[in-house]
């Protein structure tokens, strides 16, 4: 009975002790270190409000480009649609004229 208890105690101790890798560093410690490294490499999110002017240049898009694109798209869409309607109207009117001429 004592022998069994001793075996159980040894087994529990072994389970509680971290397994060491080849280099003598436990995987848990290595993982924690790689997490810390990854965190240090990533840019940290700002802890408070950052004005637009202070945002890194890569994050800034000139507003004028976006405004010009918006207005340009609207103008192109309207012009394209007006052209498309006038073309279709001309087509259908010539077709009507042909059909009516044939009927006479």
């Amino acid at each position: 009975m004592r022998l069994l208890r001793l075996c159980a105690l040894v087994a529990a101790l072994l389970a509680a002790t971290p397994v060491t890798g080849r280099a003598g560093v436990s995987p848990d410690v290595a993982l924690a270190k790689s997490d810390a490294l990854a965190k240090a490499e990533q840019p940290q999110p700002p802890k408070e409000f950052v004005p637009v002017d202070e945002v890194p240049p890569g994050e800034q898009i000139p507003a004028i480009n976006l405004v010009a694109a918006a207005y340009g798209f609207i103008w192109l869409a309207v012009l394209g649609y007006v052209w498309s309607i006038s073309r279709r109207l001309r087509q259908v009117e010539s077709e009507i004229a042909d059909l009516e001429a044939r009927r006479k």
Partner: protein
């Protein structure tokens, strides 16, 4: 009808040419700066997008329940303009959002339901073009669902508080910003009505061509 549309298109085109100067004179919004100027074209496009859906739905109901062929022509015209103004809304919105919110798109109720309405218009027009006989009635039913989406789109920003501004923004605008906004709105509305008039004329003329071909076949 066609003669009536031409001066309105000319007038609205003139107003839209002048609009950038009037918009430029308006003060900058304090947090968004220059990019907020997209609003002066985005808002009228969005309202007319919803108006197109409403007109399309009402005319489709007239066509379905009262068998009015002219109502079908107006519904078709409204659907095509819904697609046009929907595209304007869905393109200008993300261009503004990229600067104001930092993202092109978010799946919030206003944006998602607007995209859904745009897709309903696209489906309506595809069905009309390639659906074959009976597709006019099927498309009219679809337009009713599109119209049902309109109140949902409008109130969505008030019910679910998301990134999109609420409907209370426009009535509380200062006069300096209100003048260019309503100027652009007037120009867009005139353009919308003139284009719808032209498109409905085209649909009626196409129906006339079909009737003439049928008469020729019978003779």
């Amino acid at each position: 009808m066609r003669r009536l549309s031409t001066p309105f298109i000319g007038l609205s085109a003139g107003m839209l040419l002048v609009a950038p100067w009037i918009i430029n004179a308006a003060p900058y919004e304090s947090t968004m700066g220059l990019v907020q100027k997209v609003f002066y074209f985005h808002f009228p496009s969005a309202i007319l997008f919803l108006l197109a859906a409403t007109i399309c739905g009402i005319q489709s109901a007239r066509f379905l329940f009262f068998k009015k062929p002219s109502a079908d022509a107006w519904a078709l015209a409204a659907a095509e303009l819904g697609l046009l103004f929907g595209a304007m809304t869905l393109v200008t919105g993300p261009l503004w959002a990229r600067k104001a919110w930092g993202v092109w798109w978010v799946w919030d109720p206003r944006l998602t339901s607007s995209l859904l309405l745009f897709l309903i218009f696209a489906a309506y027009l595809i069905l009309r073009k390639y659906g074959g006989p009976g597709s006019d009635k099927l498309a009219a039913g679809m337009a009713l669902f599109g119209m049902g989406n309109v109140p949902f789109i409008y109130v969505s920003v008030n019910v679910w508080r998301t990134l999109h501004p609420m409907t209370s923004v426009v009535p509380t605008l200062p006069t300096d910003m209100g003048i260019p906004l309503w100027f652009c709105f007037a120009a867009f509305t005139m353009l919308f009505l003139a284009l719808m008039n032209l498109r409905a004329t085209l649909a009626l003329q196409q129906a006339r061509v079909e009737a003439l071909y049928l008469a020729e076949d019978e003779a």
